[in-house]
């Protein structure tokens, strides 16, 4: 049973601070009232950064072997494909509703 290396205390503290800062940025995107693609891009970017930091440092994945990292990240990554398919289908559903009920 190999003991993986442990990061120093300051790694946790820096990540903690970064999470707060990213949360403020995310909130600012809404508060400032950005719209359109820029808003979605920033929201998603900040979300992925926060998620990445939590998984890599707090959940220790950066120091674990690739076997567990792949096991944890690959299946949800495949779910992105499901999300893309559902987005396509939902748009079709919307168009169907609009053309059948509202035309």
């Amino acid at each position: 049973m190999s003991e993986s290396a442990h990061p120093p205390l300051r790694a946790y503290l820096w990540v903690w601070l970064a999470l707060f800062v990213l949360s403020v940025f995310s909130y600012a995107v809404d508060y400032v009232g950005l719209e359109g693609y820029l808003k979605w891009l920033l929201i998603t970017a900040f979300m992925l950064l926060k998620a990445g930091l939590i998984m890599a440092v707090f959940m220790h994945l950066a120091w674990e072997r690739l076997a567990i990292v792949v096991t944890v990240l690959l299946p949800p990554g495949v779910l992105l494909f499901l999300a893309a398919l559902m987005a396509l289908e939902s748009h079709y559903t919307l168009l169907s509703r609009l053309s059948v009920f509202f035309s």
Partner: protein, 235 residues
């Protein structure tokens, strides 16, 4: 199987490790059993929440009525001014703080420090409880304003269904996490982790490594909130 190569061959080395871990006729995950199992449980829970979030996306895209503006719906009124998403921002702050104290608790546990571990676990539990309290307040407020799973005063009827389902499941996960945090706080405080006493539920011997497994669950709960915060409240 340690690799001390330079950068160019490090990727190849890591790749070889991956293949070797899965191919060799031995245990795949080089970690304690409970830690590996918690990761697999988290993976299954990620699937559950992914289904909910993808379902929410599908509902929202296909809704013919406009979706209520989350900024307005979840605003708090302070001194006559509507501050958008204030409660949600505070809830995010509380949960991130709890993740920080949890990480420190795990670090204390690895050092075998009984008092610090118990204190930090207790603070994490309190912060989690605060989060649940605020979510309960949010639910009460919205229900009073007329939000139901089948309709609301502001827009698409599917809003309430999505909101209650997603935040309900997340809040339940936080509550269960708080329960386990309280149990672990008591175990740490009584010295059951250091002295390896059997637990009351499963009779398994206490180990400080248990705090790390609980930490993984708690960080997962925070992770889900990061996605909910972005997709439901901000988007």
């Amino acid at each position: 199987m340690s690799d001390s190569q330079g950068s160019p061959s490090r990727l190849a080395g890591v790749g070889r490790d991956l293949v070797a871990d899965w191919a060799a006729d031995r245990r795949v995950f080089a970690m304690p059993w409970d830690k590996a199992m918690i990761w697999l449980f988290i993976l299954s829970d990620v699937f559950i929440f992914a289904c909910f979030l993808v379902g929410y996306m599908a509902l929202r895209i296909a809704a013919t009525e406009p979706w209520p503006d989350a900024g307005e719906v979840f605003a708090l009124h302070l001194g006559g001014e509507a501050v958008p998403l204030l409660l949600i921002a505070i809830m995010t702050f509380v949960l991130i703080s709890s993740s920080g104290t949890m990480a420190l608790a795990v670090k204390s546990a690895h050092a075998g420090r009984r008092g610090a571990t118990a204190l930090l676990l207790g603070v994490t539990a309190l912060l989690g409880l605060t989060f649940v309290g605020m979510q309960a307040f949010e639910w009460t407020k919205l229900i009073e304003e007329g939000v139901r799973p089948w309709g609301n005063p502001w827009g698409a009827a599917q809003f309430g269904a999505s909101f209650f389902l997603i935040t309900g499941f997340h809040g339940t996960h936080v509550s269960i996490g708080v329960l386990f945090l309280v149990i672990m706080t008591i175990k740490a405080w009584r010295g059951s982790l250091g002295e390896r006493r059997p637990g009351f539920m499963t009779r398994r011997r206490g180990r400080y490594a248990m705090v790390e497994s609980l930490g993984l669950y708690w960080h997962f709960v925070d992770l889900v909130w990061v996605f909910i915060f972005a997709f439901f409240y901000l988007w």
